[in-house]
């Protein structure tokens, strides 16, 4: 059933760059094993998300959380049992993949092994019957953009992983899609190549500001670096969504806190003007949390300092050093306090404390975030 806003289906090849188009998941539920009889299992549950035109949205979540499934629902390789998928305001839920006008790069690249690089890149243009005279220019342009111009005559097997990756992106960009879907595009690359490609992807997006990108990753660094906004998935559900800063500074769920960056998550009881942790009061903003309720306090390790709080009103925790890791620029201390292990990242110490030493740690009230228990875990925030 077409949405009232649906534009007429586009006929013929997109000659000009596709108009800026966003993606919208409208209450999308995907389940596998429906026809197999028993054990239908929901892989994406009531998923609501809007990717604005030209926005880079990262889908971040652990393996198996349903990220690829969400992407496949946009591409049309899996049909939602409920809900709609819209691209550029057009309901595409019932359209086959080849009518959706998307560019997609899958995890293993899937370059056609029997075609040279240039033929791979030209594939989408030929399949969509773009004017013959236009094809070489657009292939060259896409290869130029991804830095693969010198490899047009090679076969995919003659390329390194990073080069194959670029060709896969060139192939997707050649059709000038309004929407680019990337499924863990860097997961097959080694660490050094990965950070280089991250910068290149950022550059590509600056060159193509109208392309909406849905970027699937389980790597928080990729998400934090590249995305305008991050959608956090866990166990088939959207747990949180916001700008990287929002998610990092004020996570709304314990899951977000631990998945986006590193976090100390302390079980606390809410009091009138703070919380109680292991029988000791801590001063933190409690917001609307009801006194007496249990909650989780999130404190980032790098916001914890060594020693008792120098400022009045600061929080001090005492505990025993159980482990010490030297990380070059920083030391990470593991401190047992109140029956919990607290991580603190501090500037490299001249004289690090010995294991077993009792020390004090401090953090400022405004550096702690209270996560009320039972807050609708899948509530997406509005940026």
């Amino acid at each position: 059933m077409p949405a009232p806003t649906a534009a007429p289906a586009r006929t013929g090849p997109p000659a000009a760059p596709a108009p800026a188009s966003g993606i919208r998941f409208d209450d999308v539920t995907v389940a596998y094993g429906r026809h197999g009889g028993h054990g239908e299992h929901t892989v994406l549950d009531s998923f609501d998300l809007t990717v604005e035109p030209g926005e880079v949205m990262a889908l971040l979540g652990p393996s198996g959380s349903g990220k690829t499934t969400a992407l496949r629902a946009v591409a049309g390789f899996v049909r939602p049992v409920r809900g709609r998928v819209l691209i550029g305001g057009r309901d595409v839920t019932d359209l086959p993949p080849y009518k959706r006008g998307i560019g997609m790069v899958v995890q293993q690249y899937a370059l056609f092994p029997h075609m040279k690089v240039a033929e791979n890149v030209a594939f989408g243009l030929k399949a969509q019957k773009a004017p013959r005279t236009e094809i070489p220019g657009r292939v060259a342009e896409a290869l130029e953009m991804t830095g693969m111009a010198g490899y047009a005559d090679r076969y995919p097997r003659e390329l390194s992983g990073g080069q194959q990756q670029r060709v896969a992106i060139a192939r997707a960009l050649a059709i000038r899609p309004g929407v680019l879907l990337l499924d863990e595009p860097l997961s097959a690359l080694d660490a050094r190549l990965r950070s280089g490609m991250l910068a290149e992807l950022a550059r590509l997006h600056r060159e193509l500001p109208d392309v909406s990108i849905l970027y699937v990753t389980h790597d928080q660094v990729e998400a934090l670096t590249l995305a305008d906004r991050i959608a956090v998935l866990d166990q088939a559900r959207l747990r949180d969504c916001g700008t990287p800063q929002q998610l990092y500074r004020s996570p709304r769920t314990a899951f977000t806190a631990s998945f986006v960056g590193t976090a100390n998550l302390l079980p606390v009881t809410v009091r009138r003007d703070g919380v109680e942790f292991a029988g000791r009061p801590l001063t933190v903003p409690v917001g609307e949390a009801a006194p007496g309720a249990t909650a989780t306090l999130c404190v980032r390790p790098h916001l914890i300092g060594l020693g008792a709080s120098p400022a009045p009103g600061g929080n001090t925790l005492r505990g025993t050093v159980t482990e010490l890791q030297w990380r070059g620029a920083t030391h990470r201390l593991y401190v047992a306090a109140g029956g919990h292990r607290i991580m603190a990242d501090v500037r490299e110490l001249r004289e690090p404390p010995a294991l077993g030493t009792d020390i004090a740690l401090h953090f400022a009230p405004e550096d702690a975030v209270l996560i009320p228990a039972g807050l609708a875990a899948d509530g997406a925030r509005h940026a």
């Binding site: 026809h35 080849y98 293993q108 056609f112 399949a127």
Partner: protein, 265 residues
Amino acid sequence: MLVHSASARRALRAAFFLLFLPVFALPLLVIAAASFAGGWSGALPSHLTLTHYQDLARGSTVTALLTSVLTALAASAAALTAGTWAALAAQGLGRRARRLLDALFLLPVAVPSVVVGLSLLVAFSRPPFLLNGTPQIVIIAHTVLVTAFAYQSVTAALSRLDPAYEQSAAGLGARPAYVLWRVRMPLLLPSLTAAAGLCFALSMGELSATMMLYPPDWMPLPVQIFAATDRGALFTGAALAVALMATTLLVLAGVARIRTRAGYR
């Protein structure tokens, strides 16, 4: 198998040759030798001669060889088309329907080929399906017998084909037919040529169903070999067999060349 020492490995290799050479190569060597023999009463053939081959060149052998090759080409082309088509169609079926199709295609292999020949004879003995005594019925029989192998090798190849290729193609805007011709078929090509070679070789050697069906003007070479040995002309039969083997190998070598050119992985 864990074989560490060099001597053990050598012994193993020797055992391999001792066991397998006699089984596979010796019979062929014997036939090759017999085809040059004027007589064979001792351990080795005697009175080496080319007369058997000269007989071949004079007689109906060339026609029979041509008949065999044409039959095999037609049957393997038909089998490959039908087998590939069915294998592709089977992908879109449910599990139960697919199993049924698998069984159906396995039938001609499970049933003795004499029975296949007889059943075709009975089925096509009356108008409107009167094919008895025509070359077509031989080709149909061969097609029925080898399609199973085509179907199975294409099915196996399809199940190994990474769906990411066709999905990427579809994502780039390619319609299913375009994906089939530009992506799936080229990726299947190595398996298709392997299947074609297998079908061709099987058809070249088919005897039992052919015996029941062949008309006088469409006598494939195996029938001639059988007739020759049946009347006691063993050495002539050997020469015919060598001609059959050589032709089959020649065609298979040609197919292998296509395969290596198609082998991009």
